[in-house]
């Protein structure tokens, strides 16, 4: 006989609900089933109206982030066998506006991601030079390039929940990914975001962002290294000729 588990989902329909409510489903499962598969079972067999995002099923796409018993997780790499026999509560990622059920509105993050110029800005025009890099130089940014924009770190960050203007962990980690790259020359353009009140200085080093990251990125480290950069940027202009900091 198959084991079953109770999955309690937050439900919110913008056209009919004033506030979210919870609905519990009894889901049969096998040991190899992820929470995402549990949600898919609900949608296919029990309630077709349940809305959630997913795509790759293998912790690459970053679509299926949700709060699992209050902890931000990718539902594709969370297994029902580990949650059994308790009841599992699934909610949309914290700190984001809910569009419907488990789907959140990521517009705010996408705007921030765009603002940090998440691409290499080389010193010279493309095609002129080759940009060689040593393994040590690559080590400076490599872990930050593993970010999949799943937003678990934002759901873990109370400072983002309290102040939605905070640039936040993933955007700042990706900003650092390019600033720390030896091939990049766009640091001066990005420092404006780092230095802003809502940049690195809104972080109080709760560091839960780094705990929940499914890809081993350490956003808290990127943010706090940039507090040093920001301080240098502020004070060095008094010492540098013509107030210019490279």
């Amino acid at each position: 006989m198959k084991k079953t588990i109770q999955i309690e989902c937050l439900r919110y329909h913008p056209e009919t609900d004033a506030a979210p409510r919870y609905q519990t489903y009894e889901v049969p499962f096998t040991d190899d089933m992820s929470l995402l598969q549990g949600l898919q079972y609900i949608k296919d067999r029990l309630d077709g109206s349940l809305t959630f995002r997913w795509s790759c099923r293998m912790a690459i796409c970053g679509s299926c982030g949700s709060m699992v018993n209050g902890v931000p997780k990718l539902s594709c790499e969370t297994f029902l066998r580990d949650l059994h026999p308790g009841k599992v509560r699934v909610e949309p990622l914290a700190h984001f506006p809910i569009v419907r059920d488990l789907a959140i509105d990521q517009t705010d993050f996408l705007k921030k991601l765009e603002s940090i110029k998440p691409y290499l800005i080389p010193k010279t025009a493309p095609g002129k030079d080759t940009f060689l890099q040593t393994p040590e130089q690559m080590e400076d940014y490599y872990q930050y390039s593993q970010c999949i924009n799943c937003l678990l770190c934002y759901a873990a960050c109370p400072q983002y929940g309290l102040n939605g203007n905070f640039t936040g962990p993933a955007a700042l980690a990706l900003l650092h990914r390019y600033n720390a790259d030896s091939r990049d020359a766009g640091k001066a353009q990005r420092m404006e975001i780092v230095n802003a009140e809502d940049g690195v200085w809104s972080c109080t080093l709760v560091s839960y962002c780094s705990e929940v990251c499914p890809k081993g990125v350490d956003p808290a480290r990127a943010v706090n290294q940039n507090k040093i950069e920001s301080t240098k940027d502020y004070f060095l202009r008094f010492l540098m000729p013509k107030g210019k900091v490279e």
């Binding site: 919110y12 913008p14 056209e15 609900d17 506030a19 979210p20 209050g70 902890v71 914290a94 700190h95 506006p97 809910i98 569009v99 509105d105 040590e136 080590e139 400076d140 109370p158 929940g161 309290l162 109080t204 080093l205 709760v206 560091s207 839960y208 780094s210 705990e211 350490d218 808290a220 480290r221 706090n224 290294q225 507090k227 040093i228």
Partner: protein, 133 residues
């Protein structure tokens, strides 16, 4: 697009991680109070022996000992969290081309702090013994 934004009230009670974070932040209140008491002692010392003895007498009361015991535990916890996040606040440290692992930075910080505390405690102990003679 109509969306629903959940309230943040009571956010720090939602996850044990946040509770520990709040305890770390709250420990500064006790550490500040401890520093102020110490500063008051210095002021009393300047005022003369009688004033300093009166300050010492207040320190030996049970509530004062209780406060200092709590402050000590919180200082130790604060120091632990401080060293734990230390690698995050440093640029990558390399020794002979190899990256120094975080655990080594954390443990050497804690070890240095422990050794210095022991030396300081021993020095104070030795000083109080030799001045009592």
């Amino acid at each position: 697009m109509k969306t629903y934004v959940r309230p943040m009230a009571g956010w720090w009670r939602r996850n044990p991680f946040y509770l520990w974070y709040m305890l770390r932040e709250a420990s500064c209140v006790f550490i500040t109070a401890y520093a102020l008491i110490l500063l008051a002692g210095l002021a009393r010392l300047v005022q003369g022996e009688a004033a300093f003895e009166a300050w010492l007498e207040i320190l030996s009361r049970p509530w004062s000992i209780g406060f200092h015991a709590v402050a000590l535990v919180l200082v130790l916890y604060h120091a632990w969290t401080w060293f734990k996040v230390m690698p995050k606040t440093l640029p990558l440290v390399r020794l002979g081309g190899k990256r120094v692992p975080d655990v080594l930075i954390v443990s050497s910080g804690i070890a240095a702090s422990a050794v210095l505390s022991v030396i300081l405690f021993a020095a104070a102990w030795w000083f109080s013994l030799s001045s009592a003679q």
